[in-house]
């Protein structure tokens, strides 16, 4: 209790800590929001919750890691930042292809089944993927050095790692591209139509099965991008995907489906909340705060709906 009070006191004495927590929350949150948006996309369009989302992210991280290793051995003179940037489309393509295979072999068979079935099936995929990566890539922590320094302001009171800044920038750029695709391209139009009324979309001449496959692959590409960002902002480890799955899950629940603005806000909000909770209550409670907020928010939403005689369904 005293610890908590003194942490609060510290925030009051040194207001710049607030700024640091806020900025770091925003940066990290934009990466989480990107991953969550992919999950919301798949969930909204085809009613599949992809529990393997985190494993896809990690897979993207490995793709980026091995590409960068390979390329920088080939051209040792080039600056690492070039490879970091180039690794993003490579990882996106690799995971998109992998996702497509997962769709063709498993997801396409459970499309019209209960959401619950998709939770279990993709959980199975997550298990397979985790241990496969562990066997193939070993359990060693992998990290990509982006070569960017930490930016310090206000006499080292506010420190922002350059890699985080780059990661957030790339994440935001990806999100913008996806929003534009969804809004203006024929592909995006078809995805929106399919998610709103699949039967009617079929009547309009849209091949809905193809749209489902492409949506799942697009989510794979998003995970690939996120994975290569994670690889130089955080670390890559075969069993670490769960963190990203659970975070995305929390974000999507808080935001609801089908609204990208809400997903981004929830992603940023959750990360900021988490950073402050971690600072005030201690890092060991940070995760507890993240996951407790999900049932709490759902309960509140349920009470509101109950008063309107509706159900949270």
């Amino acid at each position: 209790m005293n610890q908590i009070l003194s942490n609060l006191e510290l925030l009051k004495i040194a207001p710049l800590i607030n700024l640091e927590l806020l900025v770091n929350g925003l940066l990290v949150g934009s990466i989480f929001a990107l991953i969550a948006y992919g999950m919301a996309l798949v969930w909204g369009v085809m009613d599949i919750i992809n529990v393997a989302q985190g494993a896809f992210v990690i897979l993207g991280g490995y793709a980026a890691f091995y590409f960068i290793n390979f390329a920088s051995n080939l051209f040792p003179a080039a600056s690492p930042i070039i490879w970091v940037i180039l690794s993003i489309p490579i990882a996106a393509a690799a995971v998109a292809l992998f996702s497509y295979l997962v769709f063709a072999s498993v997801i396409s068979r459970i499309l019209n089944r209960d959401l619950f079935v998709s939770l279990l099936a993709t959980f199975g995929i997550e298990l397979v993927l985790q241990q496969l990566m562990n066997q193939v890539f070993t359990a060693e922590d992998r990290i990509i050095d982006s070569g960017l320094a930490t930016i310090s302001m206000f006499q080292y009171q506010v420190n922002i790692p350059g890699s985080r800044l780059l990661g957030a920038g790339l994440g935001i750029a990806t999100a913008i591209v996806i929003v534009l695709i969804m809004r203006y391209s024929r592909f995006g139009q078809a995805i929106r139509a399919t998610s709103q009324n699949a039967r009617a979309a079929g009547i309009m001449g849209i091949d809905t099965n193809k749209i489902y496959a492409l949506t799942f692959a697009l989510n794979g590409a998003i995970c690939g991008v996120a994975g290569s960002i994670v690889a130089f902002v955080f670390i890559i480890h075969p069993f670490q995907g769960v963190i990203y799955t659970l975070r995305s899950f929390a974000i999507v629940i808080l935001a609801g489906l089908g609204n990208i603005a809400a997903v981004i806000l929830a992603g940023l909000g959750l990360a900021i909340y988490e950073n402050f909770a971690g600072f005030i209550f201690g890092p060991q409670l940070q995760n507890a705060f993240v996951f407790l907020i999900v049932p709490v928010v759902l309960l509140i939403r349920m009470y509101i709906m109950r008063r309107q005689r509706k159900y949270l369904e």
């Binding site: 089944r113 279990l120 959980f123 049932p295 369904e313």
Partner: protein, 344 residues
């Protein structure tokens, strides 16, 4: 429905389970795990299969039950819980229980765990069971995850480094006790469920599964039935958790107490594998699952999760009706053929 064949089969299985420890004395830990699995599969299916409320969060009661038993053993052994957990890093030697202390602590603990969780189940169930469908499943999943994280931050139960059970004193045949206590509740719970599913209570549970709005508009007491069913399953989960923790002799918050990625999924898998919504399904599912799991862990170690993951995918994608479902389909087909033959 029950014919003399099923009665005899039940009796044979019961006798087999009674003598199993003598047949496989080297596999006591697998056998006691099996009893625990049967219990949680039956208790999960009561909600998921019979009532249509697919929950991922029953591990909440599983873990709380475990912590209660461990604490009860420590406290009734005459020690302070805080001292015990803070010392458990290295020095276990000074916390020695006599056999009677150990058994009393265990017995009192398991009774307390079951009863406390029953009421906790009523309390939580009355709120969360107002949600429907996906949101219920998702919320319970979040509760399971959150429980592990909360437990991780409570120092008196060992926080993130977990909590040891007091060492079972020499001369206490722990696994035999756990196995027969598990078997005892399996038998009682099986008899109870066979009766329950034939009562009005059971029919209302099925009505809730099939169409809750209609059930409610008919004036059936859906809310209280749901909470009661949830509380009964919480009772069984706490009991099973107490046995499981004692068998492992160590509580890790997310690996043993609130293992939402292992037990939390296995319980569902076992029910699906055997056949959801049947009384024999979860039992058969638990037995088959335990055999698969042990085979994977013994012969495929290093790849065991790959094998398990593939098994999960194959079962939910291709065999959603489980073994009992396949059996019933086969019986139906045979009956059709028989009647067709009788006609010609």
């Amino acid at each position: 429905m029950r014919t003399w064949q099923t009665n005899i089969a039940t009796l044979v299985i019961l006798v087999f389970f009674l003598v199993a420890p003598f047949l496989f004395p080297n596999n006591m830990s697998q056998l006691s795990d099996l009893m625990i699995f049967i219990l949680i599969a039956l208790a999960w299916d009561m909600l998921g299969g019979q009532m249509g409320y697919n929950s991922f969060g029953n591990v909440l009661f599983f873990g709380i039950g475990m912590y209660i038993v461990a604490s009860s053993e420590v406290i009734l052994g005459g020690f302070k819980l805080a001292e015990y957990t803070s010392a458990m890093g290295g020095n276990q030697g000074s916390f020695i229980l006599t056999p009677s202390q150990y058994l009393i602590g265990f017995g009192v603990g398991i009774a307390l765990a079951s009863i406390i969780n029953f009421f906790l189940g009523l309390l939580i169930g009355s709120q969360f069971l107002q949600m429907r469908g996906h949101y219920f499943a998702i919320t319970t999943l979040a509760i399971g995850v959150a429980a592990a994280e909360v437990a991780r931050s409570i120092p008196i139960i060992g926080a993130g480094s977990g909590m040891n059970f007091p060492q079972p004193p020499d001369g206490v045949p722990l696994f035999h006790i756990l196995y027969y206590m598990g078997l005892a509740l399996v038998v009682l719970f099986f008899i109870f469920l066979s009766w329950l599913y034939k009562t009005r209570f059971g029919f209302i549970m099925n009505a809730i599964r099939d169409d809750e709005d209609k059930a409610e508009s008919m004036g059936l007491p859906t809310a209280s039935i749901k909470s009661t069913a949830w509380a009964i399953s919480a009772f069984v989960f706490a009991y099973a958790g107490a046995l499981y923790g004692s068998a492992k002799n160590f509580i890790d918050p997310s690996e043993v107490a609130f293992p939402f990625t292992t037990i939390g999924v296995w319980m569902i898998l076992m029910a699906i594998m055997g056949g959801m919504g049947t009384i024999w399904g979860p039992i058969i599912g638990a037995i088959v699952f335990q055999i698969f799991k042990e085979l994977f862990w013994t012969y495929l170690f290093g790849w065991q999760r790959v094998a398990l993951g593939l098994l999960i995918v194959i079962i939910v994608v291709f065999f959603p009706d489980g073994i009992m479902g396949a059996f019933n389909n086969w019986k139906k087909r045979r009956n059709l053929q028989n009647t067709a033959k009788a006609k010609t």
